[in-house]
């Protein structure tokens, strides 16, 4: 047993897991508001990161400005997607909606490769000191910042859903669309808003990962990692999504630890979350925090 390595891997898992949590949270937001399972969540990260990269390198904008432009772009992107593609599909069976988001995912992944090429591209340095040491693990400053940002986003969500008018409207819609509508909530507006917010939050995560690893098509894999996270936490629980993300991050790193110390199989890192997913689906399909659907005839 090598406890130093285990500790470092755990810390790494927490940091990456928090990012998974943020992406999972934006996934759950869409699901809660509009009952759409978004298979294109990873492409939100991809598009956001590439657009930000483009502002920073091609336009040579300072980071804060490029970042704000990116968020503005992503708001629009989310809105347009919802209005153009998802709105006509309201009322269609689950399979149609799932396939539409999968189709969008393929489309945007290929489009980004076409526009920006296949090379991983680095972001210009953003922080003065690139990394700091925490418990013997060199951690990128931007990761710490992302941890902070994740916390801020989570707090923002908490406030949004408990105190703001739009957040309450969204919760009402998630609870019962007809009742919400009769109380004067504009359901189409709520749907569009949820997509916009989700796109923006995912883009933040995309930029963070892009700054650390460089921007490349690998970002869209976060969209797949989100599934174990949300199934663990429960599809409709924001808190569950965050915890699920952290658990998946830890699980990956612990699986890697077991693998590197004893098994030497090589890819437990990638595959362990999916085994966990299947297990959870069999034992507790509604997740740790999800609401049990009660079926009535």
């Amino acid at each position: 047993m090598d406890f130093a390595l285990l500790l470092q891997l755990t810390l790494n898992g927490l940091i990456v897991g928090a990012l998974y949590g943020v992406v999972a949270m934006s996934f759950v937001l869409i699901y809660k508001a509009s009952q759409v399972v978004n298979f294109a969540q990873g492409e939100f990260l991809l598009v956001g990161a590439w657009v930000c990269w483009w502002f920073l390198t091609e336009w040579q904008l300072p980071f804060w400005m490029g970042f704000l432009f990116t968020l503005a772009f992503m708001t629009l992107f989310g809105l347009v997607l919802q209005v153009v593609v998802l709105r006509p599909l309201i009322g269609e069976p689950v399979i149609s909606v799932i396939m539409a988001t999968i189709g969008l995912g393929i489309f945007f992944q290929a489009l980004m490769k076409w526009i920006f090429g296949v090379f991983a591209k680095p972001f210009p340095p953003i922080f003065e000191t690139e990394r700091v040491s925490v418990l013997g693990l060199e951690v990128q400053t931007v990761y710490l910042a992302s941890l902070g940002i994740s916390l801020l986003i989570m707090l923002g969500f908490a406030w949004f859903f408990t105190a703001s008018k739009h957040g309450l409207a969204m919760r009402a819609t998630a609870f019962d669309q007809q009742v919400a509508q009769s109380l004067g909530v504009s359901v189409p507006k709520v749907f569009a808003m949820s997509w916009a917010i989700s796109a923006v939050v995912s883009a933040v995560a995309g930029v963070v990962v892009g700054v650390v690893n460089g921007v490349s098509s690998a970002l869209s894999f976060y969209g797949i990692k989100v599934f174990p996270a949300v199934i663990l936490g429960g599809l409709d629980s924001v808190l569950g999504a965050v915890l699920g993300g952290i658990i998946v991050g830890l699980l990956e790193n612990w699986a890697h630890y077991i693998d590197s110390q004893w098994l030497n199989w090589g890819n437990m890192f990638q595959i362990a979350p999916f085994y966990a997913l299947v297990l959870i689906l069999l034992i507790k399909p509604y997740g740790l925090f999800g609401t049990r659907n009660i079926e009535r005839v």
Binding site: V16, A120, K121, P122, L137, G214, A218, S260, N264, F269
Partner: protein, 437 residues
């Protein structure tokens, strides 16, 4: 039903009519990866091949007056797609030779090209392809009489780097036994030199650590780097292409890993240096050509006859002459020219350009450097039972001193922010027991 049938019948009629017009052109297949897992290096290599063949058509009027009819296909690094395209090429285009790409697809096609007698110049340098007569008797290695490639095999390149590592360890006054680790995806291409490298490392007195796996795509490999640091490896071989190696290099830099990375021929280049930044500083890797683009375009340096030719080829797709051509582009030119000269040999002695006669062309010359490419392409020697074209491995080191996020590769290389400097050249023995693995 009827409309689809008519359509297909019409398409069929067209297909029958088409080959008649292209009678005197020589059909050649060109398999590329412009969009798959290895597209980061596949793109420049494929451009090199394409530009060289186009240049042959324009300036040399093809092969003895017969222009090449190159049919390119981007297969996205999926071996089955390459196999189905091969069947289209042999069935529809009747190609006489193929410029190939990856390890998995090349090895899958070995049996087919042997059956159909089509010389296959791959960009996979898997040592299994060098056993042309199938005499090594190794399990899973079969005769590959129609497979050729330009440059040292993956295994030989790794053997040379390990010999260098041994010298380097002694020169640095290292204490104890150095530790060696193989890193790469579970995929035929990174796996190809694994056994050869680990065997020689043991022979040379390295301690061989359990291999570390990471995917062929970019990602977050911090966990792998933490393991690498904990293992205490001194020399690590990176078996993947540049794209994912960059991720490992950056993650390892962040994790504070002190290890000498050794890239494979596809593991490091100018684009990767730009993307990895200072994390790429110090990585050693083999270079297949006698000169890099910086030397070729240098003003007032020692000009070699090949420099002018290569720049002319580069202008095929870049009329401004400002593009920076990475090492893979040059290797692409050399492998295309080997095929072209073998075809010329086939055409000279009697005219018919068939697969078998092209194969003879590969054996026609000793210390073979394509005409007009002196100083760029390294000499190759092929024998009917030994397709190890070269055993000389030139090892270079990547140097990065400064921020690489702004400016193009060309600017960074010209400014000296990024450099590729020669370390040493290792000449391996042509050992019989190293043939085929």
């Amino acid at each position: 039903m009827i409309t689809r049938k008519t359509l297909l019948a019409a398409a069929g009629a067209l297909a029958i009519a088409a080959p008649a017009a292209a009678q005197d052109r020589i059909p050649v297949g060109h398999l590329m990866d412009n969009s798959g897992a290895t597209s980061d290096v596949g793109l420049p290599y494929g451009e090199g091949v394409r530009d060289a063949l186009q240049w042959v058509n324009r300036t040399r009027n093809g092969i003895n007056g017969r222009p090449l009819d190159v049919s390119g296909f981007d297969y996205g690094y999926a071996a089955p797609r390459a196999v189905s395209q091969y069947q289209a090429w042999t069935g529809r285009n009747r190609v006489v030779a193929i410029q190939g790409w990856g390890t998995a697809d090349t090895e899958a096609l070995v049996r087919f090209v042997t059956r159909d007698r089509i010389p296959y110049v791959s960009a996979s340098y898997s040592a299994a392809l060098t056993d042309a007569a199938g005499r090594s008797g190794r399990r899973g290695v079969e005769a590959a009489p129609f497979n050729f490639f330009y440059g040292p095999s993956y295994s030989d390149a790794l053997r040379a780097m390990l010999q260098w590592a041994k010298q380097d360890w002694q020169a640095r006054g290292g204490q104890g036994t150095p530790k060696y680790v193989h890193m790469g995806a579970n995929h035929p291409y990174p796996n190809s030199p694994k056994e050869a490298g680990e065997a020689l490392a043991r022979e040379l007195g390295f301690e061989v650590l359990p291999a570390i796996q990471f995917a062929l795509t970019p990602g977050d490999y911090t966990a792998q780097c933490l393991t690498l640091r904990q293992q205490g490896a001194n020399y690590a071989y990176l078996g993947n292409t540049a794209g994912s190696n960059i991720s490992v290099l950056r993650a390892c830099q962040n994790a504070g890993v002190q290890v000498q990375f050794m890239g494979n021929v596809w593991g490091m280049d100018e684009n990767a240096m730009k993307a990895a930044g200072q994390a790429a500083n110090g990585v050693v890797f083999p270079v297949r050509t006698a000169a890099t683009w910086g030397e070729i375009t240098a003003q007032g340096g020692q000009a070699q006859p090949g420099f002018e030719t290569v720049q002319a080829i580069s202008r095929m797709s870049d009329t401004t002459g400002s593009a920076w051509r990475p090492v893979h582009y040059l290797a692409g030119i050399c492998s295309a020219m080997l095929m072209v000269e073998a075809m010329e040999h086939a055409a000279q002695n009697g005219g018919q350009v068939t697969g078998e006669r092209i194969r003879e062309g590969f054996y026609a010359r000793q210390n073979w450097v394509p005409r007009g490419f002196e100083g760029v392409c390294n000499p190759s020697n092929f024998a009917p039972d030994d397709h190890r074209g070269t055993l000389r491995v030139a090892i270079y080191r990547a140097r990065v001193n400064g921020d690489t996020s702004q400016g193009s590769v060309a600017e960074l290389m010209r400014a000296g922010t990024m450099r590729i400097e020669p370390v040493t050249t290792i000449e391996l023995d042509r050992r019989r027991d190293w043939l085929g693995w």
